[in-house]
Symmetry: C2
Subunit: 451 residues, 2 copies
C-alpha cells in the first residue's frame, strides 16, 4: 500500500491534515493534492478577523503554503486545479488546470475527497453579483476585504444569523459599516434553544445590529452587476454589500454522477474510518457526514475541528492504521464583540423529535468570583435525561471567560456522565477564574432536583 498513488481533492484542513499524516507514516509514498484555489491549509474560521482587520494580512491565516508542502514535505500540491468528475470504476478523476484552461484525467490508487463546504444561497437572480459574498474560502475573505477597501461600502446586509453571520456582523461593525441582519426564523443561532437564542438577539441588537427576524430572502435588486437592494418577504433593504450566512453545503456537485454515496443534501456518507461506500475512496471534512454520539444519527456539521480530526483519521486509515473517528457531540463556540456563545449536544426540539424524555434548567452565575474585578454574567442551560440524569446538552452565553466552559460539558456528553457526575467533578477554582462552584456545576445542581 505504501507504493500506491494517493490523490487528494482539496488542500485545506482535512485534505492537508490527511496528507501530512500519510507523509509521516509513509515517507516515500506518492501524494498528489488538487486544490482549486491558490492556497492550502488556511484558517477559514479566521476570515471574519481578517475582514475586521484584527488580523492584518491574509498570509497570517495560512498555516502552510503549497510551496512548503512541496519543498518540505514532498507533497505534490497543484493549485488552481479544479476536479470536475470522479470515475471510481476506472479509478481516475477529471481535472481542470485553471491556469492553462486544460482538462486531463489523473489516475489514483487511493482517493481522498476533502473539498469542504460552500456558502449556501437559494437560487435567486443576482446571487453571483460582485458584492455578494460567501465566507467559506480564503479567496472569499480576500474578496470581502478588497471590496471594503476599494468601494468603501457604508452598509451591509447579512442574510442569516448563524455563527458566520454573527462573526461577520462583528467584523463589519468594527469596520464602521451599518449592519442589517435578516433571519428567516424567530431566533438567531438556531443551534441554540429559543430561550438562549433570544439572549443572543438582545445582545447583538445592543451592539447596534439592525435585526430583522422572521424575514426571508426573496430576491436581489441588481444594477450594473451589483446588488443594490435585498428584497425580503417584508421589505426592500437598500445595501452596498451582502454577506451570505445561511450555513454551508457540502462542495460535492462534481460527485453527483459518480458512484460515491451522498445524502439528500450532497454530504458524503462515510464510516468511522472515513471510508465511503467505494473501496479506496475516503472523504473527510466539511464535504462529509459525521456520527453524532448523542443522537446516534449521521449529521452534517461544517467545522474546522471536525475537518482536522476526520482528516487525521482518514490519513491514518489510508496509511494502514486502525484509525477510528468516534464522532462528535455538536460542540461549537462563537464570539460576537464582548459576548461568547457556546453549545454542545442536543436541543429541546431535537430531543422531542427523538422522543427522549428530558428535563432542563437555566442558571445565571458569574465567570469569576462575584467580588473579583471583571467578573461577568454567564447563563448556563443544561438538558438531561429524565430519571437517569444523563447529560444531553448544554448551552452557554456570557462575556469573557464564559464559552470555554462548554468543553467540560462536551467531555461529559461524550462519556455519558450524569448531572451527579458533573457536580462531583473536581473542577478548578480560584477567584480570578470561577465562583467556587463552577457555573456548569451550579446548573447541574439546579437541574438534578428535577430528574
Amino acid at each position: 500500500m505504501a507504493n500506491n498513488k494517493l490523490v487528494i481533492i482539496g488542500g485545506d484542513a482535512a485534505g492537508m491534515t490527511a496528507a501530512s499524516k500519510v507523509r509521516r507514516e509513509q515517507p516515500e509514498r506518492e501524494i498528489i493534492v488538487f486544490e482549486k484555489s491558490d492556497y492550502t491549509s488556511y484558517s477559514a474560521c479566521g476570515i471574519p478577523y481578517f475582514v475586521s482587520e484584527k488580523v492584518k494580512t491574509y498570509e497570517e491565516l495560512i498555516v502552510r503554503s503549497p510551496e512548503t508542502f512541496r519543498n518540505k514535505y514532498n507533497i505534490d500540491v497543484r493549485t488552481q486545479h479544479l476536479v470536475l468528475e470522479v470515475d471510481t470504476d476506472n479509478k481516475k478523476i477529471k481535472v481542470l488546470n485553471k491556469k492553462e484552461n486544460k482538462e486531463f484525467w489523473e489516475s489514483y490508487d487511493q482517493l481522498l475527497i476533502a473539498t469542504g463546504g460552500k456558502a449556501f444561497c437559494p437560487d435567486v437572480k443576482g446571487y453571483d453579483s460582485e458584492n455578494v459574498f460567501g465566507v467559506t474560502t480564503l479567496k472569499s475573505g480576500i474578496n470581502i476585504e478588497c471590496y471594503i477597501e476599494e468601494k468603501k461600502p457604508k452598509n451591509a446586509v447579512i442574510i442569516g444569523g448563524g455563527y458566520i453571520g454573527l462573526e461577520m456582523a462583528e467584523a463589519l461593525l468594527e469596520r464602521g459599516l451599518e449592519v442589517t441582519m435578516i433571519n428567516r426564523s424567530e431566533q438567531v443561532m438556531n443551534t441554540l434553544d429559543p430561550d438562549m437564542g433570544e439572549l443572543v438577539s438582545e445582545a447583538i441588537k445592543g451592539l447596534g445590529v439592525k435585526l430583522l427576524l422572521n424575514e426571508e430572502l426573496a430576491g436581489f435588486e441588481v444594477n450594473d452587476g451589483k446588488v443594490t437592494s435585498v428584497i425580503s418577504n417584508k421589505r426592500n433593504i437598500p445595501t452596498d454589500m451582502v454577506v451570505l450566512g445561511m450555513g454551508s453545503r457540502p462542495n460535492t456537485d462534481f460527485l453527483k454522477e459518480s458512484a460515491v454515496e451522498l445524502d439528500a443534501k450532497g454530504a458524503i456518507k462515510v464510516n468511522a474510518q472515513q471510508q465511503t461506500n467505494i473501496p479506496d475512496v475516503w472523504a473527510a471534512g466539511d464535504c462529509a457526514l459525521t456520527h453524532h454520539l448523542v443522537s446516534k444519527e449521521q449529521v452534517y456539521i461544517a467545522l474546522g475541528t471536525i475537518a482536522n480530526k476526520t482528516g487525521l483519521v482518514a490519513g491514518g486509515s489510508i496509511a494502514g492504521e486502525k484509525a477510528v473517528f468516534p464522532g462528535v457531540v455538536g460542540t461549537a463556540v462563537c464570539k460576537v464583540c464582548s459576548y461568547e456563545v457556546a453549545r454542545t449536544g442536543l436541543l429541546e426540539k431535537q430531543l422531542q423529535k427523538l422522543n427522549i424524555d428530558y428535563v432542563t434548567a437555566k442558571i445565571e452565575s458569574r465567570t469569576r468570583a462575584h467580588y473579583y474585578p471583571g467578573s461577568k454574567k454567564i447563563v448556563v442551560k443544561l438538558l438531561a435525561e429524565k430519571n437517569s440524569g444523563r447529560l444531553l446538552g448544554g448551552q452557554i452565553i456570557g462575556e469573557e471567560g464564559a464559552a470555554k466552559r462548554i468543553d467540560v460539558l462536551a467531555t461529559a456528553l461524550t462519556h455519558n456522565l450524569t448531572l451527579q457526575n458533573i457536580i462531583d467533578l473536581d473542577l478548578s477554582y480560584a477567584p480570578p477564574f470561577s465562583p467556587v462552584w463552577d457555573p456548569v456545576q451550579t446548573a447541574a445542581r439546579k437541574l438534578i432536583n428535577d430528574i
Copy 2:
C-alpha cells in the same frame, strides 16, 4: 432524626454549606453553629485580592452573614464561640464564649466538625508577632490590610512558594512593597513537576519578586513585639512584615484528646459520607482528609471547592440522604499577575512512589489561534500510564485563557479517559478561544506516540 439537635463547629464554607443543606431538607430542625470569629461563609480564597485592593471591602468576601443565617434560615449561628473539647461518649462539646469569657457544655445529637485549616508555621520564637501573618481566615486578611494601611511597610518576606505565597506576592507587589520569597526546596509550587515549577520561578522573578530557593526559615529576629528580620539557613533578611505561605494544617488541636480518629498531621479521617469513626460525628472541609481518585490514597488538600462539596455531602448525610463524596483528583489553579498555573492528578514523583509506569510530554501552544490578537503562550504537560495510555495528570502554565483548560483534564482523570479519548473529544474551537486543536489535545497527540 429530623428532631435531633445538630451542632456544627465552624461557620465557613463546609459548615455553612452543610447547615444550609440540612435546613433545605429539614425546615424544622434545630441547628446550632459555633464560629470562633465574627464572620460566616466568607471566601478565604479572596483574601489576597482584598489585600491587593482589587476587592475594596472585606464585606464583599462574605456570602452570607451570621444575621442572614439567623434571620432568614433559622440557623442559630453563635459567633465568637470557640470550641475547646469534644466528648463523644456523652455527646457534648465544651465551648468558650469569647465575648463573655465563659465556658459551657453544649449537647448534640449529631455533630459536624468543620473547623477548617490554619497556616502552618514551624515552632519558631516570634511566629506570633504582630507583623507575622497567616492567610487562612478573614480575620487574618483584615489584619494584613490594616497593617499595610497603618504601618506602610516597604517590604515583606513571604515564606513558602505555594498558591498562597504566590497570590500574596502579587497582592503585595500591587501594593508597592518589595517582596522577597524564601522557598525551602529548589522549586516553587511543589504541586507541579520541577520542570513546570521552574517556569513559575522564572515568571515570578520576571515580576520583580526576589526569589531565594533552597532556603529555609531558621528563626525570626524580634524587636518590640515585631519581627524585624527573617533568619534563613543562609542569611538574615531585614523586613517590615512576614507572610506565612508554608501550607495549611487541619485546625483540630481541640480533638487530640477526643475519640475522633485523626491522621499523623491531625486531619480527620472520614468515609465517603463524610462520617468519622464515631457514630453521629461528621467532618468536612479543610479539617478532614479526602479520597484521591487517581492515587486511591487518603490525602489532605485544603481548598474551597472541596470544602463546599464535602459540606454539601455531610449535610445530605446528616439529613438522611444517601449522599456520597467520591473524591478528588487534586485540581488546583492559581493566578500570579498575568500568569496562570493549573494542575490536576499526580506528579512524576508520586507516580514513581506508587510504582506506576508512566510517560510524559510537554508542548507549547497558544491560548487562541496564532493569528488572533491576544493569543498567548501556553505550556501543557501530560502524564499517562504506559501501555494503557490512561491519563494520570496534567499541568498547565500560561497567560490569559490558559488555566481553565485544566477542567477537561480533571474530568478526563475522574472518568479514566485515555490520551486517545482526549484527542477524540469534540472540544470547542473558534479563533478567539483556541487553536483548532486545543492545547490539551496537542499535548495528548504528542504523548500518545510514547505509550
